[in-house]
Symmetry: C2
């Protein structure tokens, strides 16, 4: 099966999929979609992803959309190494980390929301950043409390090996830094993030290492 990932180097949902596929040692080609140039709104891309979003993952049977759904599909299609614990309550807890990022933080600081805040409410760059920082800080505060309450002994969020929780955490902290959030204020998260970013699957998935990343990484 040949996989093609339609993504963007700094899209955090694309980043999640790259990490997951790398952790599973599943090969994929990349077709970058330049969000800065609006390529996601072109008819060619809408044929792939009707919402005009990234990421989408295509194989010979069709196209999958929505990173939370695709991550579960990856886990079900290639069960090893597992991205979720086997215990049902632990699975629910790891998925709760994913949902705090995937529902309560990322969608509210996503590009389309920021553009709307700018155009509808006349916010300048600093106003838009303040909006993003507000929601990121609120969400990371919740995640940090969860990580401290759970404390599995590290190095990753859920213990000895990376899980879905780390797959959501690392791209979200990447975004947090972009928007000027002090991630050191979240020590349990920073520590897990640092450990994960040293893992080869995360290194290869890093935004600055993607084919469409600009040379200066910004």
């Amino acid at each position: 099966m040949s996989l093609t990932l339609y993504g963007y180097w700094r899209s955090s949902a694309s980043y999640r999929l790259r990490i997951a596929l790398n952790l599973k040692s599943v090969a994929y080609d990349q077709k970058p979609v330049d969000l800065k140039e609006g390529e996601q709104r072109r008819p060619e891309h809408r044929d792939i992803h009707p919402q005009g979003f990234v990421p989408a993952l295509a194989d010979d049977q069709g196209v999958l959309i929505q990173s939370p759904a695709i991550l579960e599909w990856i886990e079900e299609t290639w069960p090893e190494p597992a991205l979720l614990p086997s215990d049902l309550r632990e699975r629910a807890r790891v998925r709760a980390y994913a949902a705090v990022v995937g529902c309560d933080i990322h969608p509210i600081q996503n590009l389309s929301v920021l553009q709307h805040v700018k155009s509808e409410y006349g916010q300048d760059a600093e106003g838009v950043q303040a909006w993003a920082r507000h929601w990121i800080t609120r969400g990371l505060t919740a995640l940090e409390a969860m990580a401290q309450a759970d404390d599995r002994g590290g190095p990753y969020l859920w213990g000895a090996s990376p899980t879905l929780a780390d797959i959501y955490l690392v791209p979200q902290l990447y975004n947090a830094r972009r928007f000027g959030v002090d991630v050191e204020a979240f020590p349990a998260l920073s520590k897990a993030d640092e450990a994960a970013r040293a893992h080869p699957a995360f290194v290869t998935a890093a935004p600055e290492s993607q084919p469409d990343a600009p040379e200066d990484g910004h």
Copy 2:
């Protein structure tokens, strides 16, 4: 196992859990948390849900948070009747419906975001409603296109029996109506919503039937 659902009658994430538990014929007690009175921010509730949100689902082993995670836990704990198809690609597609609602619509029109739009950008009731309608309309447009492309013959979104897709759809259309979105503009969604709302599991889960709903249902 005795289950307690901490929720609010018109919280759509609480509504999702009620539907899922009802579909599985799993009994649960309800502990309403009055979001209008700010009960979710009180220390007693933060002991249950550190984010100060609803819903939370408690049993004798602890508390689960985040409705996407809890729904998967319900599915894994009580596999029948299944809320997801057995085919892996179909599962990914049904979960994509859930994610469009759970990530791309609901979090952006959630109460805390609306309150922030009001306080930060001086929006009045109409301005706040316009914000909500914008994101709901955008998301429902995507969902309608998906439903029309998939057309499984009804009556539910994914065919003959309710799935996770309906569990997310019905509470989101309830919200859409609250904010003045014309749901008839989305014929495939409206049709599936009407069928689902006639199902006993959905009837019992309806906001106006909950113990904390006001007598006039508003």
